[in-house]
């Protein structure tokens, strides 16, 4: 096992920290709207939530947590100039992102086949809206990860590459943080 490496300068760039914070505020507003609407239709939300399978959400949580860990390892490998490890960990992170997408598609497919659509009621409108917006972030993150992996051979070793990868890591962890709240909010809160 290799040792954890921290760079002497702060991780990422201010622009990315700012962008992510603004995005986080937008998600907070979605959560606030969901909770406020839930207050008005507690029984409807409880009944609708029971039709969601929490094991899809659990699988996606574990997938994203593992993928985040892989990205941390890739960033640390980049700081040590270890090209092969950077590529391997980014490859694993990307595959786990794909697993998240497959799990989400399977869940959407089963829901829609069972007649559950965003138009069914406000709980499902929120469910589809929040998870689809989050899903777009996953797709964007996968694109950034693939880009960094593709450039690793040529650019690992440069300060600019490490900073770029740290920014991608920040984005991917932010996607993970969002899901950490989305999972209990939609699947577990008040469930029995």
């Amino acid at each position: 096992m290799t040792t954890a490496v921290q760079s002497s300068r702060p991780p990422g760039t201010d622009g990315v920290w700012t962008f992510l914070f603004i995005d986080m505020i937008i998600f907070w507003m979605m959560f606030l709207s969901f909770m406020s609407e839930r207050l008005r239709h507690v029984d409807l939300y409880a009944a609708s939530q029971l039709r969601l399978n929490e094991f899809f959400g659990l699988a996606n949580t574990l997938i994203l947590l593992t993928s985040s860990w892989m990205v941390v390892e890739a960033v640390q490998a980049a700081r040590r100039n270890e090209v092969r490890r950077v590529r391997r960990f980014l490859g694993l992170a990307w595959i786990l992102g794909l697993a998240f997408a497959v799990d989400k598609f399977a869940e959407y497919y089963l829901k829609i086949r069972a007649g559950v659509t965003p138009a069914a009621n406000s709980f499902y409108s929120f469910y589809f809206f929040i998870t689809i917006v989050h899903f777009f972030h996953v797709i964007a993150g996968m694109f950034f990860i693939a880009y960094c992996r593709g450039n690793a051979r040529l650019r690992v070793g440069s300060e600019r590459y490490v900073t770029g990868l740290e920014n991608v890591g920040l984005f991917w962890h932010f996607v993970d943080v969002l899901w950490i709240f989305i999972f209990p909010l939609l699947y577990l809160l008040g469930r029995r």
């Binding site: 954890a4 959560f31 593992t66 943080v177 709240f181």
Partner: protein, 93 residues
């Protein structure tokens, strides 16, 4: 080599353990109201761990750590307050 408690692997194990604990609270049929509040608090702890140890906010400029931790607290409070309010007027089960 000694594993430090905040090494990425140990943090990952703790995050997965906390996730499984959340689901088991629901599956084991814990008192619903308490279980829901604990589940949200567990999410807050997990989110903070990712922010501090994976995003390395503890090494970023102080204002970023402050803002991200404030966001974490605000989201947690929003969900818990919303949930507790939804219980009022209904029998606690």
């Amino acid at each position: 080599m000694k594993l430090r408690w905040h090494s990425p692997r140990v943090v990952w194990c703790m995050l997965c353990g906390l996730t499984l604990l959340s689901v088991s609270l629901v599956e084991e049929g814990w008192h619903r109201s308490f279980a829901s509040i604990i589940i949200v608090l567990i999410a807050a702890v997990k989110s903070r761990m990712v922010i501090l140890h994976y995003m390395e906010a503890n090494r970023a400029a102080r204002h970023w750590r402050f803002l991200y931790e404030t966001w974490n607290f605000t989201v947690t409070a929003t969900i818990i307050i919303g949930y507790v309010l939804s219980l009022s007027g209904r029998k606690m089960v």
